[in-house]
Amino acid sequence: MFSEKNYLPFIWGGLLLFSTILMVFGNNTKWLLVFPETLQIPIADYLDAIMLVFVNLFRWLFRFISFVLDWPMRGVQELLSWLPWFTFASLATFIAWQGGGRNTAILTLILLLYIVIVGYWYEGINSLSLVVICIPLAVIIGFVLGVLGYRSPKANAFLQVMLDFMQTIPAFAYLIPILLLFGFGPVVGLIASVIFAAPPMVRNTILGLSRVPPEVRESGTMSGCTPRQRFWWVEVPTAFPQMLVGVNQTTMAALSMVIVAAIIGGFEDIGWEVLGRLRKAQFGQSVLAGMVIVCLAIILDRITLAYAKRQLPTESHSGFRLKQFLMWFVGIALVTYILSLIIDPLRIWPEYLEFYPADGMNELVRIIITNYGEFLEGVKNNMQYFILLPVKLGFTRSIYPITWGFELTPTIIGLYWTIIIAGSILAFVKKNWKLGVAIPFLAGLLYFGITGISWVVYLTVLPLFAYSIGGIRVAIFVTGSLLFLMVAGIWVPALISIYLCSVAVAICLILGGLIGMWASTSDRVSAIVRPINDTLQTLPQFVLLIPAVMFFRIGEFTALMAIVAYAIVPMIRYTEQGLRNVSPTAVEAGITSGCTPSQIFWQIKLKLALPQILVGVNQTTLFGLNMLVIAALVGTTGLGQQIYLALSKVDAGAGIVAGIGMALIAMSADRMMQAYIKATKK
């Protein structure tokens, strides 16, 4: 510890000097600005070649799986879309009632009626049927893997790495190899959804099984159970509530992925409808269709949660026994089916009864845009000129008379740097060397822009930064990730992704932090914010694009808004929770020792809540990176777009490389943040 304190400031100082020299004198040296191509390795091409061999060898196997899966999938699809909507809605309501009682049932019925009345029944059911087949597959696979991970430490170590990766690698990236292996068609969506939806089940199975109290397990053994009896009669039932939480998360993930997989197209589902309408700028239609997704999400969430809760013996509501349940189920099915034969609109909702106010909504949007367009445009432009562009391109390339109202003359540049250097020196004099180093680095970042700084600087500064907060292992991971991004030739798009994500995260931190603080002081605000957060989190990310595009059209700013909408949730939650969890005794101690209210807030509450708030920051960052790829659909450059392009060209290598790139960025950020959180806790 002692020696570390001694040498770190000097290394940082040296690095500062080195970076300055590099940026000042290397300004025109091309190989310093752009990572030289001679050092790049065509990893994507190698991957393509490997993929090709692999596909040729095993195509028959995967096509066979695809063929086998095709049948049940079609079967379920046919069955569900053949069922009269009335029968389906009645059965779903019955299931909801059995799980969660009257309120869940009413909610389910209303949401289903919306889907019927708007006229998206067929598309909605198509998506839902994919989810319905996906769930058992993902749950079984997740359960088996979870049990494996629980039983064998080796398998567990492997699984944890895989889960880590699966959580951070964008789903789009593995859509491509799946496409190559399984061929085009709805089965791809199914398989991708299963892969995407299984991890939460794996996690929760491992968690549940390892949380079985040892005494419960021992009581099984002492009751004379064989290992198999003990597993099925003692361990699984005790872990069951946790596993059902897994089922809920798996279901939501499945829906999310089924919607996203619509991008490959292939069959008439609701995701495709939204995407298509969005592309044609038909906002009313896309909102109406997007609402269908929202309805499906809420229904699936509530029903699975209700059944998960029902399994806890603490829950007072419990439904029929299985036999009775089945009798009612069949009874309802028969009665409603016969009714729908007699009354035709109960079978297929007639078009003349549809309520499809898309035109009205489009009109409304038009009116809003003509009235407030200038304002919206102004917000967008200001953000772009004063925040997005400087961060991306730096002051040198973004300050012009038309935008900022003045030119970046040498005098102004001189003034800027004089102030910065003075600030830095002041910090050093005050013995705060960290601030002294941070000021010029941040000033340089703003001056040259994230994309204007030499890769050499990144490759030296970031590892040292990682080392300073997290030690050697984090530093190695970060260095490896940087090298991968550079060598694989995706450094420039990676920088753009990082830039967009950092701006989004910064907005989330400020906005989310403020909302969280407010909510922590007022129960009413908290009561308003909570359901909004819940909804934002249950929604498939895709849906968030609709309002963003509606008001800001396609572009980087729009993507930014969508990312913020999704990633702000954890920041709000953790800030509120952290502040609310501060023990009253600490506050009282502050009051009695004569702190002013603002001192109490800044020096006691915020300080004590900091570790939890930092967890929120970490989550927000991961959420932001996650959303970045989806947001690429509405116009960003960067890694998200690379993946998206690769997908449209079915270029597995490029897609995987970009996907791994995203995952490495996310994992690096996560590791540094975790290390920092650990340090602040101490």
Partner: protein, 347 residues
């Protein structure tokens, strides 16, 4: 110690060592290595010796209590005896059979028919109601539903929980949950009954009540009982024999009054110091030899506690006679001898 042919369960040279491959230190013949040195060497090498060189004999139908501070290895010994924990070395003999030689199938049979266990935190199955929890060991044996539920019902009546059959564990108080645990452990009519701090999670009032019921059950059932506790009073109250452990080793084994009257060392004495001795010491263990006098003196049985004897010294009574079942006088007690016994540490 009672005669050896009465021994139901015993262990000898029993070791449980945690760490990397501890078995390598136990290659010699059984009983051939130096205990003190092995202990030292294992601890120096960073192993955790949860229990070492434990030798215990438990007579059939008696209550054997293992007692010691937290971490002294009580639970480990109990779990080695039931083979829930695999001993590193030693012998565990039940009815003349070495348990450590038994295969997994045999162990399951032995647990099904000969062993029952009660846990500190009850270890109930949260998803089953009281009746099914109690019937669970019978279900594992494959006994038909009607029969096992009938037997479970009897057990529930035995522990005084009638009427709560359809409750779930979380709906019961701690005391009630432990009654379920007791009923379950008795459902398969075991011969050996293990209890690991069964009453420690309960508040003091309930604890005494449960101890009374435990004694009542035992007078009905006559099980061979291994009972772990860290509460010395509980041990004194319930035990036929007490085994005191420290740092994984047995310090002393004896009847309650042997332990109280002749503690093996300071560690044991510390426990006995806080104990109201007149509630534990029996008349015969401190009596003076018969003095041959005949007269109108109060008499008590040899097992009478001093508490009872002391009440007889009223008025001008100066001696109390100890009379055994056959009606013979086997000794006398005077206030002086009682005071001496109670204040022995003052000496």
């Amino acid at each position: 110690m009672p005669p050896a042919d009465n021994i139901k369960l015993s262990c000898e040279g029993l070791w449980k060592v945690y760490g990397d491959n501890p078995g390598q230190h136990f290659t010699g013949e059984f009983g051939s290595f130096d205990v003190g040195r092995t202990f030292q060497q294992l601890r120096d090498d960073g192993y955790i010796v949860a229990c070492g060189d434990v030798k215990i004999d438990i007579p059939a139908g008696s209550i054997f209590i293992i007692m010691g501070l937290s971490g002294s290895g009580k639970s480990t010994v109990l779990r080695c005896l039931s083979r829930l924990v695999e001993p590193t070395f030693g012998k565990v003999i039940l009815d003349g059979l070495d348990l450590l030689d038994q295969g997994p199938k045999e162990m399951i049979e032995i647990r099904r028919h000969k062993m029952g266990m009660v846990f500190q935190n009850f270890g109930l199955l949260p998803h089953l109601d009281v009746l099914k929890n109690v019937a669970f060991p019978l279900k594992a044996q494959g006994i038909s539903k009607n029969e096992r539920l009938g037997r479970a019902k009897e057990m529930i009546d035995l522990v005084g929980l009638e009427g709560r059959e359809t409750s779930y564990p979380h709906q019961l108080s701690g005391g009630q949950q432990q009654r379920v645990g007791i009923a379950r452990s008795l459902a398969a009519e075991p011969e050996v009954w293990f209890l690991d701090e069964p009453f420690s999670a309960l508040d003091p009032l309930i604890r005494t009540q449960m101890q009374d019921e435990f004694l009542r059950l035992q007078t009905q059932l006559h099980k061979t009982i291994v009972f772990v506790t860290h509460d010395f009073l509980e041990a004194l109250r319930l035990a036929d024999h007490i085994c005191i452990m420290k740092d994984g080793q047995v310090v002393q084994i004896g009847t309650p009054s042997e332990i109280v009257l002749a503690p093996a060392n300071d560690y044991v004495e510390k426990f006995t110091g806080e104990v109201p001795l007149w509630k534990i010491i029996e008349a015969h263990s401190i009596m003076d030899p018969p003095d041959g006098k005949v007269g109108d003196r109060p008499s008590v049985k040899p097992e009478a506690l001093l508490e009872e004897v002391m009440q007889l010294f009223e008025g001008d009574t100066e001696e109390v006679e100890i009379v055994n079942d056959a009606g013979e006088c086997c000794g006398v007690l005077t206030p002086v001898s009682i005071i001496r016994a109670l204040y022995r540490d003052e000496k």
